[in-house]
Symmetry: D2
Subunit: 344 residues, 4 copies
């Protein structure tokens, strides 16, 4: 089969790879119909996340089940399904508490040996372990494009809001309007935010956030702190989502958030950095961090996609054949696309 593989920093290739086979009774094999290119793929492309040359990448996908082990009950051969970017065992002490994203045996698609040696989904076929927890039938009225978001970007935006405990009537700020930030804007509105301030430097993304019901605030040409003060009678927001993952974003998030508020850090941090703990402490803030528990959110996210209250369709800017993956990565790397969907 054809698959997109990492070769070296800045180089991916579409090459022939052996077809996957069922290895365990709860494995499934999915013929991929659509697979996304994600910001995390770009980290691999840039060599910042080290994986083995020749490893198949990609972790967002919708497809059709073509084989399933004896223990697979949640889906059947022939079903159109969506999957999550990672798997979970369902029985370890973390899974038993619903913390599937921190499962003892979690594996992430397309992230090399270090994250579970699970070949990626930018391929004709994908082997999906733990299918009962990870795969779900796609509701008939959802397009492949929309369903694709459930197991990664939409679930991540939902997580940023849900894990922060946003309540109806709150004011929320979202820093960084990439796909995750834009879905967090939608999720904040869905959760009842009376006001959402969406902050970025890209005019098109600010405009899209406004279409999603937010007040767009340009990071440098406007004054986010003044905008938040005006919107909250000086109190600061109840929840600020850091969808950037940069110490300057975290600093701003801490400043925008009101006393006893929550800073929801969905953007990736990988190192030590300076944090204004004095401000955090005097405001009695909470920091909630980490990547999303998409398996836990999957039912809710699917219900919201099915009724249209979450709608990632406007984020898809490009469709390209899988064979053009190298061009897709180059284009994405030049920030010319918001979401590219590859079709095998």
């Amino acid at each position: 089969m054809q698959a997109v593989t990492f070769q070296a920093p800045g180089e991916v290739r579409v090459e022939e790879r052996p077809e996957p086979e069922l290895l365990a009774a709860d494995d499934a094999i999915v013929r991929v119909r659509a697979t996304g290119v994600c910001g995390s793929d770009l980290h691999i492309f840039h060599g910042r996340v080290a994986i083995e040359p020749g490893f198949t990448i990609g972790h967002e996908y919708v497809g059709e089940v073509v084989a399933a082990g004896d223990h697979v009950r949640s889906v059947a051969v022939g079903d159109r399904v969506l999957g999550c970017f990672q798997t979970a065992c369902g029985t370890c002490s973390f899974c038993r508490r619903g913390l599937f994203h921190k499962c003892d045996e979690s594996r992430t698609f397309g992230h090399g040996v270090a994250l579970g040696a699970l070949q990626g989904t930018q391929a004709d076929l994908a082997l999906v372990p733990r299918a009962n927890l990870t795969l779900r039938r796609v509701p008939a009225n959802l397009s492949d494009d929309v369903a694709l978001f459930a197991g990664d970007v939409a679930g991540t935006g939902y997580h940023a809001i849900a894990s922060a405990g946003v309540r109806a009537g709150d004011t929320v700020a979202v820093l960084g309007l990439g796909p995750v930030g834009l879905m967090a804007v939608q999720a904040a509105r869905v959760a009842g935010a009376a006001q959402v301030l969406a902050i970025d430097t890209v005019v098109d993304r600010l405009a899209m956030a406004e279409r999603f019901g937010a007040q767009g605030v340009h990071l440098t040409e406007a004054d986010p702190r003044a905008a938040v003060k005006a919107a909250t009678e000086g109190r600061g927001v109840d929840v600020c989502v850091d969808a950037v993952g940069d110490p300057r974003a975290l600093e701003l998030a801490i400043r925008l958030t009101g006393r006893c508020g929550v800073v929801s850090v969905i953007g990736v941090y990988a190192e030590r950095c300076e944090v204004h703990m004095g401000l955090v402490w005097i405001k009695a803030l909470q920091l909630r961090t980490g990547h999303a528990n998409v398996i836990a959110h999957l039912d809710a996210v699917l219900a919201l996609l099915a009724c249209g209250r979450l709608d990632p369709a406007p984020l898809v800017t490009h469709h390209m054949p899988l064979a053009d993956a190298p061009e897709a990565y180059a284009l994405y790397d030049r920030r010319e696309a918001l979401k590219i969907v590859l079709t095998p």
Copy 2:
């Protein structure tokens, strides 16, 4: 001043009453601009809630502060304000936990001596104790009609949903589409319900619920249990609001709710009744009950009214002068009105 007083079951009168005076340092006096007629007023009108003849009734109001004690800080003379249907002390063990609706010293407007001997708001002027907790400035963009709902009906609909812990993606059913039920429909949507099933026998109310984003289900001409099954793959709703207050409604709510779901009983119960505890128990349901904690919800409700996500305006079917109160009560009693606003 003129005031609407209870005289006898079925009889209210507009009569001259002495103007109120400040009695405590945290009292305020409000010149009423608009005051609603509520379902609870009808209980008094019917004699089911016994109050003293000559007592001024009414508890929904918007007005202007004309006098304020030394300790009043939250509002000032000249402010356009809204108030809550009850007062709270702010310092007892219940208030300290934010349970203002069960305050040791709570008093309810217009409900006679038994509920605190606080004259009602269907009058030219109203004395408002504990003004700091109970009164709030009306945002400039809110009409009197809309602001009127914050301290009672909208707060109650919000409470029915918030106290049940509705989460984004849930399916919610609302039984009974009076003003509280209709506001619960809106509040459920605001809180992120993917589906809201609104159940009643009155076609106009079902139509209004549909305009608010619900699926209307006629109680007797359609089949609510079948509708819920179809909407939830047989699982039942996550939360069912009983906005009726009748054992048959409670029975239906219990049947419509899925395992581990919540029945949110905002409708009034005053006596013993038969409950299918076997069904409650085997489903592991939670029952949340009691009248609304509107003081606690006031900030959130005002924020949602101000941004238009909660919008009670369509519920106001009648405006009448205070002098026509007897006619208003007769009309409301004949169920010809959804919400009547009286203007002194």
Copy 3:
């Protein structure tokens, strides 16, 4: 092998039954070392829960794994293990939310075809499906007697308290001091209850509750309502556990609980009954109901048993060989035992 089987109301028999065999890759077979007789077994014995004659009963057990399917990872052959009274699939929509007790595919040991056709544990050997979720290694310092409680009675007492949200400093009442009520007394103390009032008519059980840190209150010879008033300055308890399952217990629980408190109904209800909804509503009570989610609580309960903060050892009043099961049931039926442990 030998097994205790139901024959007819009032009659159990120890008879030869075929040894179980592994049927699925996540099955295990456990050689039983100790198995308890529980109140639910008595319901079967009395014919109130109808099961097939010849069906093996019992659902509390500790034993040694003698066979395990390929997918069993949480335990291994040779391990001393404890199990839960029911199984769960780990992947349905309820399990994904951690609501294992309401799993779509849950099966209960020793409760006949209606509850999953799973032969009971009062036998030499037991087949345990879904072993990864249901079985856990017994910490070395726990006796079989104590470990036996984790998967049923101790987990149930823990659930009654945890699901009610008891907080450090609360006052808790427990109605009914059978094994579950007594464990709820311990769990309330562990969760930080400043005061626990334990109510029953059996003097020995009141005395045991006092040894566990409660204030014993005789249901009829003392005055529970007066005792609660005295303990709470008239406010009522924060949480009242109904560990009886009788409308009179529920009525008392409702009366003992303070405004905005929680009635935790762990006692079994199977039918309609009269409930004082007027009192429930005016107090704004919450009712939490249903049987325990012991799988979810298993880690916490084991940690508390291992450190001795939960200690069910005093509840074991009798040890008997499995062969004497008929005598054990008769004795338990005469209420002469608190907990009988049978040894195959």
Copy 4:
């Protein structure tokens, strides 16, 4: 009257000050019976918290009400009372959500003009504003020494645990065994922690923590990370309290805490510092921060003091007359005392 005043870094003086007078209707005046010296007082003593020379210091106190304004209802003249280290208005948007510690109009005793210009309690008499929220009668069975802790140190230890959501069965680590850390150890046990690891370098404090039920771990002579691994099968603690307020403590707390755990930062941070956000994020930790909401916790803490489950008595190492305050501060500064109680 006599009062302890700040003069210059390293110098406090007992001098004659004018007696306070009632200024508002909800003020009370308390004749101080006992007042503690706290770590925060030492910050003032060291000049790290700048206050005006001549300002009366101290904020922990028990005393007798000798005068009360017309609006004071919670206590009466003649009552033995305890107070909190800060006041709150009870009606601002923070107070309405129960976040009294972040009240818009909060004032802290003995912290100079910047924190509300409220003279301290290390004096014969103290003026107490907002007495209804801040003062509480001392239960008859509580000594002044013990009651003194309710409004500051015990409430702070309770907050560190309660705000972190410790559940029965959790494993908790506490870094720093000053009075707050030691009370956090007690509070963790009360909240049901199955294991508490208490970490410090002072052998006496480790020994006291062990008497309170913890496992003492010497910070440098033992290996805290190895101890936590051994106690948790390598998973890390569920909650780690940083009762130090130093970047090295925070780093250790982050390392000791397991995936999805909570770092409860009760130690004071005043500046920027380096934080290992990479580790925080990959573990999906929560940080909860800020000083304690003692007003909110007061009822629970008093109930736990009254029943003896929280017992700060062992922490009181010195009693001295108010006149010896300069000596007391010197002694405390040399770390020769854990808690000094001054008696006017």
